[in-house]
Symmetry: C2
DNA sequence: TGTACATCAGTGAACGCGCGTTCACTGATGTAC
DNA sequence: TGTACATCAGTGAACGCGCGTTCACTGATGTAC
């Protein structure tokens, strides 16, 4: 019935979402444009609305999908180190100068977090859902309240540290911030996971 | 020589900066507009360029000034509590639901942090300068490296905690995040200042 | 003191631009027969 | 198998809108004399 198979359309949709992830992270909600995203995806503007109803809908899908991928990658680290080193290992890679310098490809939460209070209900709900899921995993699936509490504090320090390091002008100060947060996580969260 | 005294012009300029602080924090860099800011200040668009060269210049001045005020208020708390309770006291007021709900009037860093990597060099330099000054004060003016390191980690947890709490949809999750960060600060940073 | 003039903070309409979105169209492919 | 037709993902020009910025103007005040 269709010119292309459903699979082809899904592939294009995914191409748009991946292009959007790059554009939104590097330029922000308002700085990223639909013409720009479509160009990055190797397409032209007009086709956009064959895939999404609006810029907001694309943002929501991009945000949820990219956030989930990034949390899943952190969770996967668990298999590669002794249990008590898991959180510090996550912090090592998250609070790394290479990640700091990779705004376009890095953590979508850090790139767009301060726009969340201004986002629509759907996007905020997706954000909360993914955060809760990741926090449960960090707390190792237990319902232990203090493990959950630690998991929140751990995430807060990682997020705040990366955002501050990305915001300051000098690389020296940025490194100082990353070092300080990695150290605090080693000191305070090593045995807790 | 002038129609009004220099003092009058300075007063108007300050009115614009204060209006800009509200508008930028609640709507973000792109969401806040010059017509909107001037209206909030009780003026009309056209006069804006008698005071600032561009939106970016206003942003820079607003950001530096508002950041400094907010850090100074945190520093002033030191006189009101025993030394070892200072950091937790700062955290109590920063990680408070009332502050979380006061985007328009609250911490300018939390409201705009993830736009910093995309800001111009001047703004990032101002951001760094104020952050360094505040960090020195948190570390109590010493050059003790570990006090500075703790001060960075402390700030990172506060910033990340507030931003996450503001981003999630449900108030319950938001409170959980704030509680967790306040608790972690009490547990890990109480004796260090 | 009184008056004519110069100043310039503030006004509000207008400008060009790029945005999100719409729309008439195209043309490669799947389907019907 | 071959062929005419229907489909619809993708194109690219166009739309209205609100933005940052400009500009000719106003009118209350300070200054000169």
């Amino acid at each position: 019935m269709a010119r292309y198979t459903a699979e082809h359309k899904d592939t294009t949709r995914e191409k748009i979402v991946r292009a959007a992830a790059k554009e939104f992270r590097s330029k922000g909600w308002a700085g990223a444009t639909i013409p720009g995203i479509m160009e990055t995806a190797g397409l032209t503007v007009g086709g956009f609305y064959k895939h999404f109803e609006s810029k907001a809908e694309l943002f929501e899908e991009m945000f949820g999908q990219t956030l989930r991928n990034s949390f899943d990658r952190a969770t996967a680290l668990k298999e590669q180190v002794p249990d008590q080193d898991w959180w510090p290992a996550v912090a090592e890679s998250y609070l790394d100068p290479a990640h700091r310098d990779n705004l376009r490809g890095g953590c979508v939460m850090a790139a767009l977090a301060s726009d969340m209070p201004r986002a629509d209900r759907e996007t905020r709900t997706v954000f909360e859902k993914e955060l809760l899921r990741y926090t449960d995993q960090l707390a190792d699936g237990t319902t232990d309240t203090s493990a959950h509490s630690d998991a929140w504090a751990f995430q807060a320090m990682m997020l705040g540290g990366l955002i501050m390091a990305r915001g300051v002008e000098s690389e020296q100060t940025a490194n100082e911030i990353l070092d300080a947060c990695r150290r605090a996580i080693r000191d305070h969260f090593q045995q807790e996971a």
